[in-house]
């Protein structure tokens, strides 16, 4: 048994303490640095709490790439690199392929945003200005 509270919980309480008890008494320049530290701790806590999605993403990559069998080892990295290369070759211009690709890219980007900056998830398609 791990000792509780463990990583995510400790990060949360450490961050709350930094913001409540240390940051307010710092001069402006150091307060800015403390807010960056708090932000890094928040990203790390969300990363720890994020559901495992690699298997889903690998399955979507396999569907998009068609002729690709996920290898052992780092399949996610390899599939992602392969997809990037095919996009660069212009292989997703045809409407059906493009729709499937964009769906994958949106899903993947939302998962990345959920860790890096969940506030930006509120942005909706069709609202780009």
């Amino acid at each position: 048994m791990k000792v509780e509270p463990a990583a995510a919980d400790l990060l949360d309480i450490a961050r709350a303490t930094l913001l409540a008890e240390i940051a307010p008494s710092l001069p402006a320049q150091q307060r800015y640095t403390a807010l960056m530290v708090a932000n890094a701790m928040a990203v790390a806590a969300r990363d720890l709490a994020a559901p495992a999605q690699d298997a889903d993403e690998i399955a979507r990559l396999a569907a998009l790439l068609g002729d690709w069998t996920p290898p052992g080892g780092d399949a996610l990295r390899e599939g992602t690199a392969r997809l990037a290369a095919r996009i660069r070759e212009g292989r997703f211009d045809e409407p059906a392929a493009k729709a499937l690709l964009l769906e994958h890219l949106r899903t993947t980007t939302r998962a990345r945003l959920a860790v890096s900056n969940p506030r930006a998830l509120a942005r909706q398609p069709g609202k780009a200005t």
């Binding site: 996009i87 212009g90 890219l105």
Partner: protein, 319 residues
Amino acid sequence: MAIEGWERLPGGAIQENVAIDVSVASGEHAGRHAWVLRTDAPSAVAVSHSRPEEFELLRVALAAGVRVPEPLFLCADGEGPDFFVMGRVPGIAAGHRLSKEDSLVPDRPALARELGENLARLHRVTPGAASLAFLGEPPADPARASIAAYRRDLDALGAPRGEAWPALEWGLAWCARHAPEPLPACLLHRDYRTGNYLVHEGRLAAVLDWEFAGWGDPREDLGWMLARCWRFARPDREAGGIGTAADFLSGYARAGGRETGFAETRYWQVMAHLRWAVIALQQAERHRSGAQASLELALTAHIVPELEQEVLLLTEGPP
């Protein structure tokens, strides 16, 4: 001459700026002065201009009627790092304040128009001046040249760990497919955005950070200023969180810039998000590679998904 005050200014990841208070006993500059000394930070990046080049850019911009700190003295004698001295302009640059606090910008339409007018004056500078020879030849097709450059950058970034960025590749493929006919090249600032200019008493006081200036398509600077990633607290105000795109673009046209609608800048907003994403990845790589351990650089990587989302939203259809 005596230096009576010396204070390092915050915010220079690439260059260091020091506010100096100087008293000159006699001669042309006799009197007391508030100046800024600018020199390289220990971690300068390769794409940025040298201090002598930046000094020359400031001179050219000033002569074109662009509001900049006055370039005063340059030292490039090889005995230590190059530096130059420029006038210290009062004002506030912080984007989160300028976008939020109306007391700093009482007349937002006026400042947005001023930003447009000022940029139009810069864009009147065209290739040819011998003193700007260090900028090289203007690219024949700036959009396609940028796409090729960003692809090379992504390849270099991905190589060490086999990484790749499909959403950014999608944006680049879209830009390659929809590249517009190039306009005649002019002098671009290439980082003309809120955060890089000073506002004093509600007016544009000076444009800073000229280290990325170069020849290109004028719409690149327009798209950079209007891109969502530089709107800070007010994403509803397209022009850098300051004012509307309409005000910014009308100021631009009024001062001799090309008539451009907001819709036409969409292509260049996509390019702006792609370029910022590449730069953010490069900054993060400096931390990841161990070249420069830095919390700020590490966090920059976490801006990238937001830029990817913006690229996806802007490229759902044709431009």
